[in-house]
Symmetry: C2
Subunit: 343 residues, 2 copies
DNA sequence: ATGAAAGCGCTAACAC
DNA sequence: GTGTTAGCGCTTTCAT
């Protein structure tokens, strides 16, 4: 499709303009665009010519009004976390927008008050601005999904329905217990046996999930976990504090961290102790953040397959929008371990 | 506005539904929403009641069709750069979406083939999907802005019109020559005099800009710059190579880097040489990325005021959409230096 | 201050 | 296969 239609006027051409130029009715042009098989080959060619010549593009508002579909997917912007290494959501948004584009959907990014997980959805729903939503922070509780369901809104989620085992919406998630397991096994293969875990508080579903992978790998290989686990906040300073405590008490030779942020906390502890990352001690993180990728000598990290997750979600979205009653089983994806100098 | 309208039916209420419930005509309801001052207080109250009861929200498609305004701002997703510390654009997107929300605008994120800087714009323009665009990567050349201008599209840019001094569109940028200057002066204050510059190739406008700040600060303080500057790619490995060369040859006590990515390259060099960042040598970066924030002992970095930039752009956008002929002078913002352990 | 009529650009349903 | 008719939900005249 040529970019320069040779047409600069303020008002874009309409169906009627094309129809007139091609010498057919408006409906025929509409069909040429939406059901080309209905036209005779020569008519189609003539209409297509006129479309190209005018640079015609259907008006989205008019089409939406008529078809009751906006071809827009709503995505509430995840809160920005400064001072952490957490940027997984940004990478997810990137890949989701890209995947959605391939199926003719655009993404409507909206903002919601961080204090209210429901803020923003209602307005878009009521004004029929979007066809569906992608919900991302399901581990924060099922408020969003429960509410969307009660409003009969269409949506898919990146993240399993942790607290509602009977939820019916399509979802995609990453098996991060498995992630912790391969991370731990990687360290065992490298000859470590005193492998510590630095994770989140007990009330974090995500945290317990990841922790179980570590426990499982340790026990499978007949290794003890006593004195090797700690639970803390997801921040640099608490990661450092946890590392300080565990290094003093149990002297592990390797640490697995529930996030790259915690891993960076550990690095702060090592820096202070003048220990060499990857030589004196091994560290593995989660998320494969830019931080893990760039800090010397590179932090080995569990990498969630975000590209695949985005594609799966778009696929589910397509089916959901085509079949109102669509109910799919959740999809669980496996992460891979990106090995770098830290281990 | 109550979130639960007590109304669950599939079809959202329309103006007509509200009118019937309130016992007025449709236009009156429309006026109640768009020109409340036109109504008598009691009528307004009655209509408002009906609106609340039904949870009415104007249909966006219908409104757009009629007013020829979508209240959507198009933003093409910047390419994702893995293996670097560059995430400034993500932070910009965050703050822009937030700022836009305050004025009733939502952001339509779209994808464009990275190989074609123009890809994606045309379709949205022709289908009248967005009211305006925000263009972000102006330093890559003026292709996007030139083309948008020729199409009479409305847009603002984050980034000055480097190659077109006569461009008329509103823009906001950050004075990073000044950023390099305060970074260098900070190091001079700390007692350094052999301060190296690790920057980009000569054809990078952004790079030359930043470099000039370093040169200026050095000369102002009577310090020599010979043998202290290098030009390279924006990547970890070339940052390391540049640092290796300059550390061997000139033995500077401090380095200013054109990006946090290059600063991380320097860190790789230091790691190999077993030098202590912030003790044996000082390093300052650009962008105040998550990497600079989290790596021990923290990298001093020039922080662009993205929040302010986003707000300025939204303001310009509002005026631009209100006044078609609106022409504003560009806005140049000053960055601040976030001082951390690396200096 | 409120109401009636018209029409934005498109597609679904039906006629020919 | 192609054309005609109607109407999606809203706002902009214009009349009252």
């Amino acid at each position: 499709m040529p970019r320069s239609g040779g047409h600069i006027s303020a008002a874009p051409p309409t169906l009627a303009d094309v129809a007139e130029l091609a010498g057919v009715s408006r409906q025929t042009v509409s069909n040429a665009v939406n059901n080309p098989d209905l036209l005779r080959a020569d008519t189609l060619a003539r209409v297509q010519d006129a479309i190209d010549k005018l640079g015609y593009q259907p008006n989205r508002a008019a089409r939406s009004l008529r078809t009751r579909a906006s071809h827009l997917i709503g995505l509430r912007m995840p809160a920005l976390q400064e001072g952490t290494a957490n940027a997984m959501m940004d990478r997810f948004v990137h890949t989701f927008v890209e995947a959605a584009a391939e199926t003719g959907y655009h993404v409507l990014l909206f903002y919601g008050d961080p204090a209210d997980p429901l803020d923003g959805y209602d307005e878009l729903l009521r004004s029929t601005a979007v066809d569906a939503f992608v919900v991302t922070d399901t581990h924060l509780g099922g408020q969003q999904t429960t509410w969307l369901q009660s409003r009969r809104a269409r949506f898919v989620s990146f993240g399993r329905p942790w607290t509602q085992p009977d939820a019916k919406h399509p979802w995609v998630d990453v098996d991060l217990a498995y992630g912790a397991e391969i991370a731990t096994e990687h360290l065992i293969e490298r000859g470590h046996s005193k492998i510590a875990w630095i994770g989140w508080h007990k009330d974090s579903l995500l945290g317990e999930e990841r922790r179980s992978g570590w426990t499982h790998a340790m026990h499978t290989h007949g290794l003890s976990t006593t004195g090797l686990a700690s639970r803390t906040e997801d921040s640099i300073s608490s990661g450092k504090a946890a590392a300080d405590a565990i290094l003093d008490e149990t002297e592990p030779t390797a640490l697995v961290c529930a996030s790259d942020t915690l891993a960076m906390g550990v690095l702060h502890s090592l820096f202070e102790r003048r220990l060499r990352l990857g030589e004196d001690i091994a560290v593995v993180g989660f998320d494969d953040s830019q931080v893990a990728q760039t800090v010397p000598p590179g932090i080995t990290s569990v990498r969630p397959p975000l590209e695949e997750a985005a594609r799966e979600l778009v696929k589910a979205l397509e089916e959901l929008l085509a079949t109102p009653s669509y109910a799919a089983p959740g999809v669980m994806l496996k992460p891979v371990l990106t090995v770098r100098g830290s281990s």
